[in-house]
């Protein structure tokens, strides 16, 4: 629960403070946000499954974002940045979809 509270505090702080992201990091922002969404849906599903754990959620959140950005960075260095971005988005997209479906089953029992 403290993870959710902390996250909400962070989001509010981000909206209020409007910090700027360094230009060199900007290519990785979209992927990082998608990875964060994946972690969020995963956490929500775990909560509904009754398996939620603050530490697991936050660590998976952090590693998701970092690894996704790292993959894109690596792809950029190798000249296949856009293809790798697509791969990451596809994988994370499928995960988000299935997690959303599981959440839907939990909520609507259908």
């Amino acid at each position: 629960m403290i993870a959710a509270v902390g996250l909400v505090v962070g989001i509010v702080a981000g909206l209020v403070l409007q910090p700027t992201v360094p230009v060199s990091l900007q290519p990785y922002l979209p992927i990082a946000v998608v990875a964060a969404l994946d972690a969020l849906f995963g956490g929500l599903r775990a909560r509904l499954d009754g398996l939620f754990d603050d530490k697991v959620f936050l660590v998976s959140f952090l590693s998701n974002v970092v690894v996704a950005a790292l993959i894109v960075f690596l792809g950029d260095q190798l000249g296949v940045g856009s293809q790798l971005s697509t791969a990451v988005v596809v994988v994370l997209g499928i995960r988000i979809f299935s997690n959303a479906a599981a959440i839907r089953r939990h909520i609507f029992k259908a």
């Binding site: 996250l7 981000g14 409007q18 979209p30 995963g42 775990a46 499954d49 936050l58 299935s98």
Partner: protein, 320 residues
């Protein structure tokens, strides 16, 4: 190979039948992080020690940072939209302003050159007819003087019935070299003044192309192209024939579908253009000697390229 559910024996590696598709299975059927299950199992077993104060604070800090970073990223990603629109609007505004300024300046330029002409006329009222005649002839040559008289109009038309399709074959367009050829033939035939689409040609004019557009003195022109020349119509037509330009135009018509016509007109009005920039040489400081000022004043008459001396021989009527 005994089919065993992994949940029943956590920690034991199994060799599933579909081992080659683990990646797909992982993605499609177990999107939930296995860490949650492990943590739940540990909790159920009672093995996990209760989290200490420091651990809780660390987790909250991590959560705050992650929320902050994600929000910052999302905000940043959404921000460019209004910025781009604003920049675009600014640019549009600037283009309009600059266009207005350019228009104003060209109007002012026209007024000033009219004034110059008027002042010149006033200043020369006492001068002899010879001087006046010479001035006007030179004005016609340099293109500063509007000219009217009989002459020939050559039209080249590459427009395809007003329908502008994107995939126009470049070879079916009028090229700068086509216009150059026509203009050169007209000059060779003793034309006193030539204009393309009302762009008067001077000794310093250039007919060039940039992409598919033909530029005359850096002004882009659109077809159909009207090359108007003032001069003896017979001589001009003869020159067109003799230089092979007529054949060339016919070839353009049959080969590339460029319609062209050569017509004689009893009266053609060609506009003058503003006085050209004057170029003059200046000796470097080291070698300055007594006749340096003389050199500069001499130089101001430099516009003499092109059809120089023989223009005086052809009779011409000049708009007063």
């Amino acid at each position: 190979m005994t089919p065993q559910r992994p949940e029943q024996r956590p920690g034991v590696r199994r060799a599933p039948v579909d081992a080659s598709m683990t990646l797909l299975n992982e993605v499609m059927f177990r999107p939930l992080d296995p860490g949650y299950a492990d943590a739940a199992a540990r909790r159920a077993a009672g093995g996990a020690p209760p989290r200490g104060r420091a651990g809780a604070v660390g987790l909250v800090a991590l959560a705050v940072v992650l929320g902050l970073v994600t929000t910052a990223a999302a905000v940043q990603l959404r921000a460019p939209q209004p910025g781009v629109i604003a920049a675009r609007e600014t640019l549009e505004q600037e283009i309009l302003t600059r266009q207005g300024v350019a228009e104003e300046l060209s109007v002012r330029g026209a007024a000033l050159s009219a004034e110059i002409e008027q002042l010149q006329g006033e200043a020369l009222t006492g001068a002899s007819a010879d001087v006046l005649q010479g001035l006007q002839a030179e004005g016609a040559l340099t293109g500063t003087q509007a000219v009217e008289g009989e002459g020939v109009v050559v039209t080249l038309d590459d427009t395809s019935g007003g329908l502008s399709s994107d995939d126009v074959d470049a070879s079916s367009l009028v090229h700068d070299s086509d216009l150059q050829r026509v203009v050169n033939a007209l000059w060779a035939g003793g034309a006193e003044a030539v204009a393309i689409n009302d762009q008067r040609l001077t000794g310093l004019s250039a007919i060039r192309s940039a992409g598919d557009a033909v530029l005359v003195d850096l002004q882009p022109l659109v077809g159909p192209y009207r090359v108007e020349a003032v001069g003896d119509p017979d001589a001009l037509r003869t020159s067109l024939l003799r230089s092979g330009t007529s054949d060339f135009l016919q070839l353009l018509g049959t080969q590339y579908g460029i319609r062209s016509s050569v017509t004689t007109q009893s009266r053609i009005d060609l506009p003058g253009r503003s006085a050209p920039t004057l170029f003059f040489a200046q000796p470097p400081d080291a070698t300055v000697d007594s006749d340096a000022p003389a050199g500069t004043t001499d130089g101001t008459t430099t516009d003499g390229s092109g059809a120089g001396p023989d223009a005086h021989e052809t009779g011409q009527e000049i708009v007063e």
